[in-house]
Symmetry: C2
Subunit: 180 residues, 2 copies
């Protein structure tokens, strides 16, 4: 079985292709940017993006979107995690969280799969907390400030993939595809 | 002459209607939310939003989008100013700017007008700086932390409208419409 992953991010593609192998699914790569609407709801954003993108595709495909949601900041940076990382970065998040007691946060990933007729969404979530300073050198994005069971994602290396929100969402899709 | 302003914000509509009177332009109000794409470029966002919205309209209309761009934060909060205000607010911006020397910032407004065939954009900008603390009780949004020539927009009351980015963009549109 083959299915196309539409993403401009090579790192994401490699991670997802490796997961596919476990399920006997061959993941193809369509490297492109696509149109995403503004909004507060990551699942809704992914669903609309996939629907708009489906006008350009004949065969089934999926996209993935993810974000970091910090409780004491009302969910910020949420759906705009990528823009916020590019502008204020981890330094900005740590500054915002200075002297804040409630440091709980979660990563959320949503996968939207177009089966040729309609969109199906699958989500994965991992709960953790924001650290007081950056720790670890692996991974990317908010990994150095997101702590899960005592270590940051950037301190875990490959092991992070076992717990990651993206893996959970992708595995839900692949396991659903396998059972069809 | 009549033209429709599509916005869910009553305050914006009132401000714009008053400007229209000076130009002999009757501004009608279509109160609705519309679809906006994600992106880094406010003008591009407004243009695409108006193009998508034009599928629903027979007659000419315009929309307006604006944002606060802080130099030392790489333009943050920029196109996502509204989301950022709702989540971290002025307190968050001031925390991010604590001990930051370069406090220069600008407000940018873009108006996108659909003439029945294509979209025309007009922009207005006002340069100022981010204060060290909130000052003034009038206006809304980032007005209490945006200082222009010694006073914040929230300390100016009605006078703010004389210098505002929104007024500049709207006047460009109305003056262009009057000359057509």
């Amino acid at each position: 079985m083959e299915v196309i992953f539409v993403t401009s991010n090579e790192g994401k593609y490699r991670e997802v292709r490796a997961i596919g192998k476990k399920y006997g699914i061959n993941v193809g790569w369509m490297r492109m940017e696509y149109f995403e609407p503004q909004g507060n709801d990551l699942e809704e954003i992914a669903k609309i993006s996939a629907e708009l993108l489906s006008e350009k595709f004949q065969s089934p495909f999926f996209i993935e979107d993810s974000g970091l949601f910090i409780d004491s900041l009302n969910g910020f940076p949420g759906p705009y995690s990528s823009y916020v990382f590019k502008t204020i970065g981890n330094e900005g998040i740590l500054k915002l969280m200075k002297d804040v007691e409630d440091r709980s946060a979660h990563f959320l990933a949503v996968v939207a799969y177009w089966d040729g007729e309609k969109v199906h969404t699958f989500s994965g979530r991992v709960d953790g907390r924001i650290t007081d300073e950056m720790r670890g050198c692996e991974g990317f994005g908010y990994d150095p400030i997101f702590e899960y069971e005592g270590r940051t994602f950037a301190e875990m290396g490959e092991e992070k993939n076992e717990y990651s929100h993206r893996r959970k969402a992708i595995e839900k899709l692949f396991s659903w595809l396998s059972e069809r």
